[in-house]
Each structure stands twice: as structure tokens, then as C-alpha cells.
Chain length 587, copies 2
């Protein structure tokens, strides 16, 4: 062992002990013939001192050191004269008698400090240096803790972790699969799993009752910001359960994580809201309920006043922005421009201001103070508040209201990263009609069960009826981010067959793609359901961050490249030949 | 929830309670108007009774049930008249008042019993049914426990689990990589990791100090029996350590697993043996030391007696088979044929028998009883024992002796699966010369450090010197199976450069393949080392089995196929086009 202690553990009560530390040189200062070295390892920083009385050799070695050199240093723990209360070892320093240079270092391309001067690209290339910085180390330690606590909790309530295969079969439904050519089966390919969905259902058929896995998944999508081609899920499934059982089980899991990872006791039941209400009140299927600012439908209060914009609109919605009556005309104009951006897509913005000098709006021509007050009452506005109103067709305007609500939450500082507002959303639509291909797509996946009470509609020959069927599905939302999603699954082979029919699969196609699971359901499938959590994002939110990249040790960039490895890369022609493949592009 | 209790938990003290169970019908018996149903779930089996007094409906439902039907059953717990001491619930039964048929089942293609009538192929195809059987369920439960305990122990001593990427860069050195075409980077490929070796070393460079991961790895090899294209490793790495630190840390881990998973206290230090001694005494680099039967070199006792076979042999080795003097001539002939098989490759077998009536051998023509007694003394043979002797060139004959030793251990029943004999083997050769390609290959991988004392030889310009360099590497062997292997790594970029040179990589080639790690070593790499355990085989050995397939939920067959999924499979032409690929075989 190269050390007797780590750089994070020595205290005043170690004074007088002879110790050996090993680590990286964070910083060197010279003062009056003495050298002060901050030595860093995973556990902390300890100050080393080479004083004037030290040997010539020791001084010469200290002279040679630079940032990020790796050394082993031996000396005696002593009380510091000027203590540093910012670090746990700040009361002591080590009076060195020996330095053993273990490895030199070139000057790193950016500073290894909590706040670094390195840009994103250079830090990605030298990821192993970026990972030395405190914030990234904390992020990965948090991730480790999250995984450990998840496993401990689920193991404690009888879940069994089962590893499912990574080399599976391609079933091109939903997102694109990554594929892996098989050398031993020429012309054939494995696929990498987008999730272990079918495997966990097979494990339920096999009687494993309570399954989980923290598992890598893969999706060959065009990457948006903060999406990764490989990502990690906490994947779970249970047998003989109904929705309430699943929600209660994982609410318990999440509360245990809050408590054991963040020290937060969450004693109340998490709020629950239907998809329909989430859209109605928050204009989003993943409401951020850290703040109120609920959306009110006010169409009924706007008619008969000859205001064509509202009269012709299918939907008129309003939010009350507390205390924002003081917004200047310029600020409101800026918000108006903001809602008109294509990403929001509103045609314009109407406001009502409840100021000291009375109620005023941008539509005073059409609406009397009494009309405006009626609206203010509905949205719960009081003196000093600002009401913002959008109008248009229902779906798009609800979305726009939701986006505006979040924006106003941001502007008012209502979305604090250390405030956690969990929420369950349930009763999602089962299917989505696609005009282009003229067929239904599963909102979730083809194994999601319709709600029992909608079963008649599900078997209807009428497209409109089918479109209205609710799924027995649920999402877990934290601070406006969807962290988990799941459902009660179909366990009846007849219902599953109907689902494939509704999705427009011929029975041959269904058999080819999902034959193994259709077959499995013929041999006694239990009622079952489950959920999967996006682990990367879960960790990021627990760490108070919105981006996941710092919570992944070796992430890829937006083009799906690992810039440190320089992967993907061209492979040998011989390797291509072995795989019976030819590339149609030349590199 | 579909149940109040599981099928494994009701006892006599529950008598009188009304309960609801859910599970699979294991068996139905009718006796005198009563139906007895064995209901099975993951937790056990409980007997249900429908007696004559039950309603017509209930009787009719019971009548319909068949093997593997899924039911929910409600009734009152009652003491059994004829108890079954073989199962924990054997004192009670449930007098049913209600059966709710949750799902029917076709007759399964094989019996769902501990001993099944199904062949390997059919059980693989219906893996979800095979997984219902007790032995497989126990195997996966053991695996879960092993993983949990490994994590708990390593977390407890400060290791951090870090997930490393699955989509990495192809570095065609060693075994073949599986590759993944990148759609977003046309003509380029990711590779799947054969191990996270370089990543864990980068994590050490990044200062993570103690890393582990239970991680999937991939190797596109021609499959031998009991090899899987994807397999799981317990992968570990530590900084600022020497060999002893690594061995002690993981000896602690293994002992914790023995204790917490199998209830076995291992208080002694695990034996350690050098590679050279392992070959000398056991003819194997992974000795099974559950039994003695050490190999003795006896060349020096055989000369000058005109026995040409021994005189011309580079090496003569002997083992003493205890109590086997009673073997018949026919038995010995059979062993002689056995050692002549190409898999063993000996030219013949000489024996010495220490029977009641004196010492006899198959070479009495050449050796006197005194000569034979001298040999008997060296191998430690006593009256009643049989000595078996092979001769030939050293390397091959040692191997053959090792194989013969294991065979005799099997024949004598000395290799009990519930007896555990752990062993560390160290000081492996660093390099292997390949005559065909006229170059050295790394025995382990190119990051393994030479032993410090062999550094001069490592830099020698003489091939013979280099061939003699020992690696600072070690294996963990359990019952004759290599379960883990690791080494102290190179952390000096100069030594690493020399290694690439010795392996015959041009500096450009080394840069292309391993540039990122060569670079990383320039920025302060700490001394480090680690180990990786083959988790599938570790679990199998803990379960007392030699084959790993039962310890993997969804394994592949020897052709690398998942016969349940029917994967790999052909993919759409459109998918091929998107990947800029053409297959050179038609399917």
C-alpha cells in the first residue's frame, strides 16, 4: 500500500503521527523558503509542507513538482498556524520528510478546479481529467449511492434482480434499434434492447413475481440535446398487482431514495393527477407542480363582446402571474414575442393587469372592468397580479399555455432545484392516430393494457371509439420532468391479439416480431404490471441539475460520438469480410 | 392486489384466517369427491381443497382447471389431516370458497418439476417455462444474492460502482469484437466491450481510487461448450496498491460471499502458488486443490536402466493414486487408452502398484523393486496405492499429468461440488511468442505490468530474455476453475510504450488503437491494479454446478443463438440502407 491515510481523513487528533499520503498535486505555493503543496485524492485535500530545515534532496524534489504530478509523501501531522475552515483537514498539515515522485504530468489543458476554464469540447476529449473535478466526482458518487439504495430497498421488499440479454432480436416498432451483425450466423443481426420490456414480461410468465434491474438500454434516435444513444433504466415488474399496488410500491422506493440519498423525509402521499387534468390545468403531461399558476379555461367568459380573436378560438386559457402587475410594457412585449416563437407557436398574447390604479388589459376596447374582474376571479388573481391569456385551437393552445407557465415560473424563480415536487400522472390515451400512415400507434408500447372499463370501446369497430380508450398507464414526474413510466400489461392472449390488430399488424407480422411473447401468454401469464425509471435523469434531478451528461462517466456528444475514444470508427476490411458486410459509403 | 398472502408463508398459526392466494396450478388430485390443488408461486406451494360441501359453481370451476392455469383462490386456512413435512406449508391447507380463473394454460411441452422430462432444445425454446422449475429459480436467486452481497461488501469498503459505456471503439487485439454500425456516422462502427479494461484504468487516472462494476462484456469467439457471447464480470480496480493489497481486498470480498451467500466461514488465508509451481505440482495454471495427488518429477530416478522411453524423455512425472492398487489390469488398460486420446496426448502410461504381495510395475523388466521403491518414496506412495507415470517433452507432459490428475480425482470422487478450495496463482509469464506471426502476444492484455525485478529483461534486446519476463499478474482459482484474473498495471507511459514496441505495434498503430490511454498516462496516472471475476461461473460454482447456462436467465446456445427469440435474424432492407450496409450473403 502506498499510503497510510487518505487525503481526506487526518484531523487535529492525528497530530504527531507519522503518515504517508499519495495523490495529485493540486497547487504549490512558496512562501519564505517554504513550499506548501495541496495534495488531492478522491477523499479530500491535505496540505503538505516542505520547510527550510528539510534536506536539500527533499527541497529539490519539491522544486520539480507541478500541477497534477502524482506523489507519495511521508511526514508528521502538525497543527497549522493558519487554519483553513473550508476543508475538513484544514486544522492540520504534514511536515514532510520524504517525497516519492510516482508520476509526472504534463500541464493539463484546463484547470482541475470546481469552476474550470475548459470548454465543453476540450473537457469531453480529456474526460479523465474533467472527472477529477469536484462536481463530476460528486455526481458519480451520487449516482453510485442512488443505485446502491435502489437495490437495497427493492431487495428488501423481495424483488430479485435478473440480468436480461443485450444481444436480442430486432423488432422495428417504435424507435430504431442498434443492430449487431452476427459472424456466426451470416446475414443475420442481433439488436440491442431499447428496454428489457418483453424479457421482464416473460419473467412474470415464469413466475418471478417481483423483478428489477438497473440496466443499459439503447436507442438509435436522432439525438436531441441531452439524449444519449445508451442510457440506464431502473426496470421493474410485478405480478398479481393492480395500478395502486405498483404506484404504492414505487412511491415507497422513491421516498426511500429521497431519505437515504438526500436526507429528505417525504411523509405525504405523492399527488396524483389524470392525464386529462394535467393537460387542462398545466398544459403538460408532465406538470411541474413546484408552483401553482394553474391554467383556467375562460372561453365562457369572453363571448359576445365582438372580440373576434377569442370568439373564433376553440379555446381561451389564462394564468395568473403573481405579483407581476409591475411588469413594464416592454417586458410584456418581450413575453409576447416569446410566445410567438415557433417553439411556442401562439399568435399573440392578451394580458390583464391588476394594478393599484385598477384593472387594465390589452383588450380594454372589448371588455369592461367587470368583464375583466370576472376573469380575474376565475384565475384567482388579486391586486398586483398579471393575467396572461392565449387563444386558439385547444390542443396547441393548451401546450402553449403550459410552455408559457413554465417560462413564467422560471422568470419568477419558482423552480428551485433543491425543492422536489413528485407527481403521478395516470390514465393516458392508449393509442395515437397517425394521419400519414393512416394507422394507430401505441402511445407507450403494444403491451400496455387498456383500462378495464374501456374494454368495450377497445373492441369497437369505430375508429373514434378506439381513439378514446385510456391506457392503464402511469408516469412518475419530478419537477416537470418525466422520470418514470409504466403500465398494467395485457396478460390475456386474446386482448394482445386485438392490440396487434388495432395496430394494423397482420397475424404473420405479429408472429414474426413477437411470436415468443404471444406464445408465452398461452401458458399461464399472470396479471402483471411495472414501471421503468430513467436513471441518468433521476440522478441529475437528485443532484439538482437539468443535464444528464455530468451524471454519466463517459457520455457521448450530440452526434453520438465519444470524442475521447474517437468512436465510432472505421473497422478493418478483414473484419467487414468476416461479417459478410460491405459498406455503401467510402471512408 | 390479487392476494393476501404468498403460497409460501401460511402456517398452522394462520388457521382460521380467510386468505386469498394467487399462482399456478402445479397439480390436481381428486379423492372421494374432493379436489386437491397444489398452488405454486415463487415462494412455495400451498394445498387448496374444494370439498363436497362446496357450491356447484366452485366445483365446476375446479373441474376446468389444468396444469399451469393461473388462479386466484379464496378460502379459510385449516389444519391438514395428513400433513406433508416436505414443504414449509405442509401443515395446512385452504378450504376454498372461491376460485377466480385468471388465465388458462395450454399443456406445457414438458413437466414443470425439479426433474423434468424436457430435452435441452425444447426447454431453451420455452425458456420462460423452464425458468418456472425449482433448480433454475434457485440458480437465479443465488445469482441475485451474489450480486447484492458483492455490491454491499465493496460499497462498504469504499468502492464506487461506475457504469462504463457499451458502445465503444473497436481495438482488434485479442479476441474478436462485436461491432455496431453507426447510422449517424456512416461507414463507422462502435464495438461492444470485451471488458471495461481501459475505462477502469482511465477512472484510476481520474482519481476514483476504488472502482467496481458488475458489467456485461462481449466476445465474438467461436463458441466452445459453456461459453457465451455475452457474459458478466465483477470488474474492479484500485489505485496506490501493490499486489498484496489487491489480493487481500478481494480475498476479503470472496470470504464475505462464502459467508453471506453459503454460510461458510473461511478463516484461513487462501493458499497462494506461483505459476511455475502450479505447473510443476499440478500440471495446470488453475489447480484443483480439493485433493492432493501432487505431481512429482522423477526423471532423476529413472536413468541408466536402459528404458529408452524414459531415457529419451525430457520429463518424467508421477502421481500417487491413493488406494488404487486394487485397480484391475482392465481398468489400467482403460486409463492407458484414455491418456492416449488426442485431448490428453500421452504416448503411453507406466504404472507401479504397491500391493500386499509387493511392489510391481509395468516396467519390471527395467527397474528393480528398490528402484520402484525409490520412486514410491518420492511420490509419497504407501501400500495399497497406485503410481501413474507419463514421460515426454516437459510442457506437454506436465499438461497431460495435470489432466490425468483431474481424471483420477474424478474417478476417486475427490472433487465434491460442496467442498470449496480457493487458491491464488501469481507470477504468470508476461508474453507468449507466436511462431506463426513471429511476434509476442500479451498473455493477459497489453496493460499488465512486468514484475519490477524483471524490468531489465523487459528492456533487453534479446528475445529469450523478454520471453522470461514475469507479469505482476494473478488469478483466483476455485476448485480448478479460473474465476478471476488481474494484475498490477503499467502506469508509466515509457513502460507502456515499450510494451507496445515489444508487441510489435508501430507507434502510429498504438496511437490509433490506444491513443486515448497513452495520452491519459501523460497527465499523472497513479500506480494501480485490479481484477475481474467471471460472474456467471462464480455463481455456477457457488451453486455447485459446472455449467453456467442455468445461472443465466436467457442464455444463448453454442451457435450463439437465442432459440426462444429466434435471434439473430435478418433485418429489413430499409434498415440496411439506413446503415449504409450491404450483406454479401443472400438469405
Amino acid at each position: 500500500m502506498y499510503r497510510t491515510h487518505t487525503c481526506g481523513e487526518l484531523r487535529l487528533n492525528n497530530a504527531g503521527q507519522k503518515v504517508t499520503l499519495a495523490g495529485w498535486v493540486q497547487k504549490i505555493r512558496k512562501m519564505g523558503g517554504m513550499s506548501f503543496i495541496d495534495l488531492r485524492d478522491r477523499y479530500g485535500i491535505t496540505q503538505l509542507v516542505v520547510d527550510e530545515s528539510a534536506s536539500h534532496d527533499l527541497n529539490a524534489t519539491a522544486e520539480k513538482l507541478g500541477r497534477e504530478y502524482v506523489i507519495q509523501a511521508t511526514g508528521v501531522v502538525a497543527e497549522r498556524t493558519s487554519k483553513n475552515s473550508k476543508i475538513p483537514t484544514g486544522d492540520i498539515e504534514i511536515k514532510l520528510s520524504e517525497i516519492n515522485l510516482l508520476n509526472a504530468s504534463q500541464t493539463p489543458p484546463f484547470t482541475i478546479e470546481d469552476e474550470t476554464d475548459g470548454g465543453e469540447e476540450i473537457r469531453a476529449k480529456y474526460r479523465y481529467l474533467d472527472l477529477r473535478r469536484g462536481p463530476l466526482k460528486k455526481a458519480l458518487e451520487l449516482r453510485h449511492k442512488m443505485a446502491q439504495e435502489t437495490r437495497k430497498y427493492l431487495d428488501g421488499i423481495g424483488f430479485i434482480e435478473v440480468e436480461t440479454p443485450v444481444l436480442i432480436k430486432s423488432t422495428p416498432e417504435g424507435a430504431r434499434d442498434f443492430v449487431v451483425p452476427s459472424r456466426m450466423n451470416p446475414g443475420e443481426f442481433y439488436a440491442l434492447p431499447q428496454s428489457p420490456q418483453t424479457f421482464k414480461q416473460l419473467l412474470m410468465v415464469a413466475g418471478y413475481d417481483k423483478y428489477f434491474q438497473i440496466v443499459r438500454c439503447f436507442r438509435d434516435e436522432d439525438l436531441r440535446a441531452d439524449r444519449q444513444p445508451e442510457f440506464t433504466q431502473i426496470d421493474c415488474e410485478m405480478s398479481f398487482v393492480e395500478r395502486e399496488d405498483v404506484l404504492n410500491t414505487f412511491e415507497g422506493t422513491i421516498k426511500a431514495l429521497f431519505k437515504n440519498v438526500l436526507g429528505l423525509e417525504m411523509n405525504e402521499q405523492f399527488p396524483r393527477i389524470s392525464y386529462a387534468d394535467a393537460m387542462k390545468y398545466y398544459g403538460s403531461d408532465k406538470p411541474d407542480i413546484r408552483f401553482g399558476m394553474k391554467i383556467a379555461e375562460i372561453k365562457h367568459l369572453t363571448g359576445g363582446k365582438d372580440f373576434a380573436v377569442f370568439d373564433s378560438a376553440e379555446y381561451v386559457g389564462a394564468i395568473c402571474v403573481e405579483g407581476a402587475a409591475s411588469y413594464t410594457r416592454k417586458q410584456i412585449d418581450e413575453i409576447t414575442e416569446w410566445v410567438k416563437r415557433p417553439q411556442v407557436g401562439a399568435k399573440g398574447l392578451v394580458y390583464i393587469r391588476l394594478a393599484e390604479d385598477g384593472i387594465k388589459s390589452s383588450v380594454d376596447k372589448f371588455y369592461s372592468p367587470e368583464d375583466l374582474t370576472a376573469i380575474a376571479n376565475v384565475v384567482g388573481a388579486k391586486n398586483g397580479d398579471l393575467i396572461l391569456i392565449l387563444a386558439g385551437d385547444k390542443k396547441r393552445t393548451q401546450d402553449a399555455m403550459g410552455t408559457l407557465r413554465i417560462e413564467m415560473g422560471n422568470r419568477l424563480g419558482l423552480r428551485k432545484s433543491d425543492h422536489y415536487a413528485p407527481l403521478w400522472v395516470y390514465d393516458f390515451p392508449l393509442l395515437e392516430w397517425d394521419e400519414e400512415t393512416q394507422r394507430f400507434y401505441a402511445m407507450h408500447h403494444p403491451f400496455t393494457s387498456p383500462k378495464p372499463e374501456d374494454m368495450d370501446k377497445f373492441y369497437s369497430s369505430n375508429k373514434e371509439d378506439i381513439a378514446q380508450v385510456c391506457a392503464n398507464a402511469y408516469d412518475f414526474v419530478l419537477n416537470g420532468t418525466e422520470i418514470g413510466g409504466g403500465s398494467i400489461r395485457i396478460h390475456d392472449s386474446g386482448v394482445q391479439k386485438r392490440m396487434f390488430e388495432v395496430l394494423g399488424f397482420g397475424s404473420e407480422e405479429a408472429e414474426y416480431k413477437f411470436g415468443f411473447i404471444i406464445n408465452a401468454f398461452k401458458f399461464g401469464a399472470p396479471p402483471h404490471g411495472g414501471i421503468a425509471f430513467g436513471f441518468d435523469r433521476f440522478c441529475a434531478l437528485f443532484g439538482g441539475q437539468e443535464t444528464i451528461r455530468d451524471y454519466i462517466a463517459f457520455p457521448k456528444n450530440n452526434a453520438g460520438r465519444d470524442v475521447m475514444l474517437d468512436a465510432p470508427s472505421v473497422i478493418d476490411a478483414a473484419q467487414m469480410d468476416e461479417l459478410f458486410l460491405k459498406s455503401t459509403v467510402s471512408k
